[in-house]
């Protein structure tokens, strides 16, 4: 597999949210607006990229039996970095995302890529894989956040489209499940007919 494929597979063919159905908790939890979804996606991208790079560099030194705890420590370190940097420079977004920032540690996508890809491949391939997967995840979160914000608040990225009330349900928790369900159904339909 060449580098371009390593990078691009995360967007469509192996998209973490729409195809692999990983990382559902942050996907549903933070996408009440497009900007929150994007912020969460980019935070996860950073953790994925850095942990993939570090894990592919140290893979030769870690005994096989303790590799999972070792991976978790590496991932948790980068999550702490994101948490502190965000609290310092983007306090408003940090407040909105709240609990879901430390929970990037248990996001199955990050550990999944570490175990399935970075522990078997070189640095450049792993970095591209992490970046592609992360940006694919960010794209999915941004799409879901946009749909919910447009339907729920009739606005996008905080800019009001029509001066009226939206369907409040889509901002509330049930809207997350419904919007994602119909979005995945739509993607399945397009894939089958295309």
């Amino acid at each position: 597999m060449n580098n371009m494929q390593n990078f691009s597979k995360g967007f469509f063919k192996e998209n973490a949210v729409f195809v692999q159905l990983l990382g559902m908790c942050p996907t549903l939890g933070v996408t009440s607006t497009a900007i929150n979804g994007l912020g969460m996606g980019l935070a996860t991208t950073f953790v994925l990229l850095m942990s993939n790079i570090v894990i592919s560099l140290v893979k030769g030194f870690i005994p096989d039996k303790v590799r999972i705890p070792a991976f978790i420590v590496i991932i948790a370190s980068f999550v702490t970095v994101v948490d502190l940097v965000m609290a310092g420079y983007l306090p408003a977004l940090h407040e909105q995302l709240g609990l879901f920032i430390p929970l990037i540690v248990v996001n199955c996508i990050v550990l999944g890529r570490a175990e399935a890809f970075a522990s078997k491949n070189g640095v450049i391939a792993s970095a591209l894989d992490g970046l592609g997967m992360g940006l694919g995840f960010a794209m999915a979160l941004f799409m879901l956040g946009s749909v919910r914000e447009i339907l729920g608040n009739l606005s996008i990225l905080g800019i009001k489209l029509v001066d009226a009330d939206g369907i409040l349900l889509f901002i509330l928790p049930p809207g997350a499940f419904l919007a994602l369900g119909f979005l995945i159904a739509f993607i399945n339909h397009v894939k089958k007919t295309a």
């Binding site: 702490t80 929970l103 248990v106 199955c108 369900g181 995945i184």
Partner: protein, 190 residues
Amino acid sequence: MEYIIIVFGAIFVNNIVLNQFLGICPFLGVSSKVSTGLGMTGAVTFVMTIATIVTYLIQQYVLVPLEITYLQTITYILIIAALVQMVEIILKKVSPSLYQALGVFLPLITTNCAILGVAILVIQNEFNLIESVVFAISNALGFGLALVIFSGLREHMDLIDLPKGMKGVPASLVIAGLLSMAFMGFAGLV
């Protein structure tokens, strides 16, 4: 009275799965049978309660006195991972029958974000030790309630003829959405 508020708040009003979006992976992945749902609930209750107690004590007596609370995320995830392993080993020795029932679910629990989520929420809400234990148990029961209702609904769903694109996960998500809507009826109760 305070405890009743915590219990009702955690089980119904702010249900951990349907309102807080924690533990969605086992919720969508495991729950196709009511019996598996019950097994998973048992394992989660067990680990969540012990994990909350241990992380609470570590937070109060190690992280805070040493002023290293920024290591919270790393410490907690390591404690939870180690704890799950230990519970598995002890259970195997002490109660083989319980191990038989819960065994397959235990490894999945390390990556269940509900466990880490509750451990962090307890600190954020500034609960004391007893309140934390009550909070952990009620959240686990809330998880179980959502899981069992959902698996019951999904058992029935197998019989329904759905459009091709909706089959599987999309339909499950829509059902979860309707369930979450039902739970919104509890809002304002506490």
